[in-house]
Symmetry: C2
Subunit: 335 residues, 2 copies
């Protein structure tokens, strides 16, 4: 009748001590089957469940993993970005499978303490960061002291934090080489290299251009990731091109490439005839653009699994290295 508020109420009701109730509810072998069943019956009947916060405090673990999206270089960008969403969904599936919940934080790291605040709050058992943004140094600093931390993004020599991601440099190189093979000569790279992954893709792009003797013909257009504003920017950029304008676009992401394709439509430019366009990620949207987008595939499902796997290894005390996945060229109709 009276609602059961805590384990002591239930103990009174069952005529035992709180400790016994706790053990009974946890199926401890120290409690006889008879009392255990009796206590569990009462709990079931009153729909009682022990308070998780108190348990967390006592046991020092929470059953939750924090997923953080730092938006250092893109204050306007929303979590709703398709890449984040896709990654987030995959992580949620993978963590749920292991019985963990997922605590989501979107953070604009103006405060340099953003990461250690999450790490030392005791609210999560581990942290997954999606994208290094321009915070690689902060990540390294925290990773040095806080073990259960893995990052989606690029890997560089000597990096402290454990990362999972594709070989961005190679991916950028493959993308650019493909564009050149398709006849592009004057190429623009669309993307903001303040994010490490993107800087690496640009690096690969430069390498491919150099290898073809086209170094002079590469333009960099650091467009924003926010779809709404980028569209107008891209239209302006393309409009400013003279008659010897660019004939190829290496986009740092499918989202950017898709914006570029739409901008081209409004300028009556046609892909691939006028400008060849290639994206990066191979998100579902790459199959829905018009024309369908050639891109560099990152295996996000494998990536999410790797992130979760490495994280739990680190929680378990293991010390494991970064994981770099091979990028793969997907040719569709935009190149």
């Amino acid at each position: 009748m009276g609602t059961i508020r805590n384990i002591s109420d239930l103990a009174v009701m069952a005529g035992v001590s709180p400790g016994t109730v706790s053990r009974a509810l946890a199926d401890s072998p120290l409690i006889s089957a008879k009392t255990r069943e009796r206590i569990q019956a009462i709990a079931r009947e009153h729909d009682f469940r022990p308070n998780a916060v108190a348990r967390n405090l006592r046991t020092q673990r929470t059953g939750a993993i924090g997923v953080v999206i730092p938006l250092g270089h893109e204050t306007g960008q929303h979590i709703s970005d398709p890449f984040f969403m896709t990654m987030l969904g995959l992580l949620a599936d993978s963590l749920t499978e292991r019985g963990y919940d997922l605590l989501l934080s979107r953070i604009i790291p103006s405060d340099p303490q953003w990461l250690s605040r999450m790490a030392s709050s005791g609210r999560v058992d581990g942290l997954i960061i999606i994208g290094q943004s321009d915070q690689a140094a902060t990540l390294d600093a925290v990773a040095a002291r806080y073990r259960p931390l893995v990052v989606w993004g690029g890997h560089v020599e000597g990096q402290v934090h454990c990362s999972v991601g594709s070989d961005n440099r190679l991916g950028g190189e493959i993308a650019t080489a493909h564009l050149i093979a398709r006849g592009a000569r004057r190429i623009a790279f669309f993307g903001d290299p303040r994010a490490r992954e993107i800087a690496q893709r640009l690096e690969g792009c430069r390498a491919a251009m150099a290898a073809a003797g086209l170094s002079h013909a590469l333009q960099l257009f650091p467009t924003h990731l926010v779809a709404d504003t980028s569209h107008a920017d891209i239209v302006r950029f393309l409009g400013e091109q003279g008659k010897d304008g660019i004939d190829g676009i290496v986009a740092a992401s499918d989202v950017i490439a898709s914006s570029a394709l739409r901008a081209m439509v409004s300028l009556s430019l046609h892909a691939p005839d006028d400008i060849r366009v290639i994206g990066y990620d191979d998100l579902p949207i790459a199959r829905q653009t018009l024309p369908r987008l050639s891109t560099i595939r990152q295996e996000l499902t494998a990536g999410a699994d790797a992130l979760v796997d490495l994280l739990f290894r680190r929680i378990g005390g293991e010390d494991c290295a970064s994981f770099v996945m091979p990028p793969k060229l997907i040719v569709r109709h935009s190149t």
Copy 2:
């Protein structure tokens, strides 16, 4: 040097009592500016932050909102579904703005206790459920006792739980009427009516057919939401149509509509000439199909804001009604 583990360590270090430290860190006016500054300086220097779990236990609030996606009728469906993802991103943005975190759970409610487990775990200050699935009864039962709970989905007379969503019946009616106006006579409804929203859309669809004297010409095809399997199913369904087959599809969601369009391509059927197709939701993907998808727009941004707003009103003790938004016909090129 010695790491500070808790407020007492810091108290010893500062030569004060733990209580004073707690107040100082919380900027309590009871503490003199001098001691407060001294204590905060030590905390900053050692990068110390009070344990959130302990605070939650004491204050009985967590600063987190649970977002749950019940997949009652679709065990295969993943969180990665574009609708969920979009909604989730919007909620995350809106909650972050209010300083709350978001605890994500994907749940397959085989266990009827799924909801009250979340509600009574004490881990969240409130609950947002995305979609009633086939769990409307469970939702009503829990909502009767647990106040801070709001649901995205359909509203029916006498419903206990507080919901936010578009007028699904009207939306279905508008969509169907539009198809009829465009010349469709033999219409199929694609969607699984076990979910309440979808049942309401179907009801509207039936009403519009009846109003046009076409009741006999409505087919129901309860396709799954999972994109991968639905495609083959839809191809089969369309293939089984004779020469007097359907000439209109009312899809219960944009995702389904987009699958239908792809299935039509592989059967050399053309929209809108052979079959007119209309979706529901107006997700970003509706603008990226070929041809672009006519659909019924739900203002998801407004919806997410309303969900969060109502939730906090309920947390504050207010008792507020469901919120039904008007659906809006968006005509593109598929009808």
